[in-house]
């Protein structure tokens, strides 16, 4: 069993650094994945437009 005492204050920056870095890594990861999601949705929309346009041209050419 570990005896409980008060803490040496000079260790606090290490504790802060460990938690701050961990959460920063998670936020950066979520930021980049959601940005990638937005980019893909935009690309999907522009591809849809392009294909719709080509379909329209193809129909027009056949008439």
């Amino acid at each position: 069993m570990i005896a409980l005492i008060t803490t040496p204050a000079h260790n606090i920056p290490y504790l802060f650094a460990a938690f701050a870095i961990t959460w920063a890594v998670f936020f950066v990861y979520v930021f980049f994945t959601s940005r990638r999601q937005d980019e893909l949705e935009q690309e999907m929309e522009s591809l849809r437009e392009e294909m719709r346009g080509r379909d329209g041209d193809g129909d027009g050419g056949g008439m």
């Binding site: 005896a3 504790l15 994945t33």
Partner: protein
């Protein structure tokens, strides 16, 4: 109409799960900083354990998902297993990176050095390198199916290092602390309140892992959809020329 209702219900369930995860994470912060007692010799810095140990557990879990996903991919050859394995590998690397960052931050004030080449630390670094290699293999393969196949083999073989990392402190004389999680950990090593705080932290971060894995797998699916649409668009453009 039914599918719209199902999708709305799915969205609601997902939002409830997100709120629950946020609540557990807040509880985790309370247990880490307010509830858990301060350790006698190293002081507050020992609270790094509540983030370092869950990161290590999640790295093992993520690489176990890679292992299972890779076996399923080689067996079934369906893209969903490859998506699952590669998403879990990415997350496993993030968790291992965090283990390799938080570990030295904890080691410096307690051991007096940032790093030592003992069995636990070295095998963890090797684990990180194996799965960085996994992602590089995918990125530099001649085509996607070859990359998926080769990386699946590495995902299975590389998992051998996970038990080595876990048992390293038992098999070799190391500077690293004994096991604090799992069947081989010693009950008397941790104060019961510390054990409870650690358990809450493990649960909270496991929920976060579930959320991130789900997001990453669905992003992989969208990437695949966009790639297929791009190929269709190129095919149509060729046909019209």
């Amino acid at each position: 109409m039914a599918s719209v209702a199902n999708s709305a219900r799915g969205g609601l369930r997902w939002n409830i799960a997100l709120v629950a995860m946020a609540a557990v994470m807040v509880a985790n912060m309370f247990f880490t900083f307010m509830f858990a007692p301060t350790e006698a010799t190293s002081g507050h810095v020992q609270r790094i354990m509540y983030i370092h140990v869950p990161m290590a557990w999640l790295a093992f879990l993520a690489f176990f998902v890679v292992f299972c996903g890779s076996i399923m991919y080689l067996w079934k050859r369906t893209a969903k297993w490859d998506d699952l394995a590669s998403s879990a590998a990415e997350l496993g690397i993030i968790f291992t990176t965090l283990v390799l960052i938080t570990g030295p931050i904890w080691a410096k004030p307690t051991w007096g050095v940032w790093w030592t080449w003992d069995a636990r630390l070295t095998s963890t670094l090797v684990l990180w390198l194996i799965y960085v290699g996994y992602l590089m293999l995918r990125a530099y393969s001649a085509n996607r199916s070859q990359g998926a196949r080769f990386s699946a083999v590495l995902g299975i073989v590389g998992f051998i290092d996970v038990p080595i990392v876990y048992f390293a402190v038992d098999w070799w004389r190391t500077q690293h602390q004994r096991l604090v999680l799992g069947g081989l950990s010693l009950e008397g090593d941790l104060h019961p309140d510390m054990r409870l705080a650690l358990l809450v932290s493990v649960i909270a971060f496991t929920l976060l892992f579930g959320f991130l894995l789900r997001q990453r797998v669905s992003l992989k699916r969208v990437e695949r959809g966009v790639r297929e649409m791009r190929e269709d668009a190129e095919f149509m453009a060729e046909g019209q020329r």
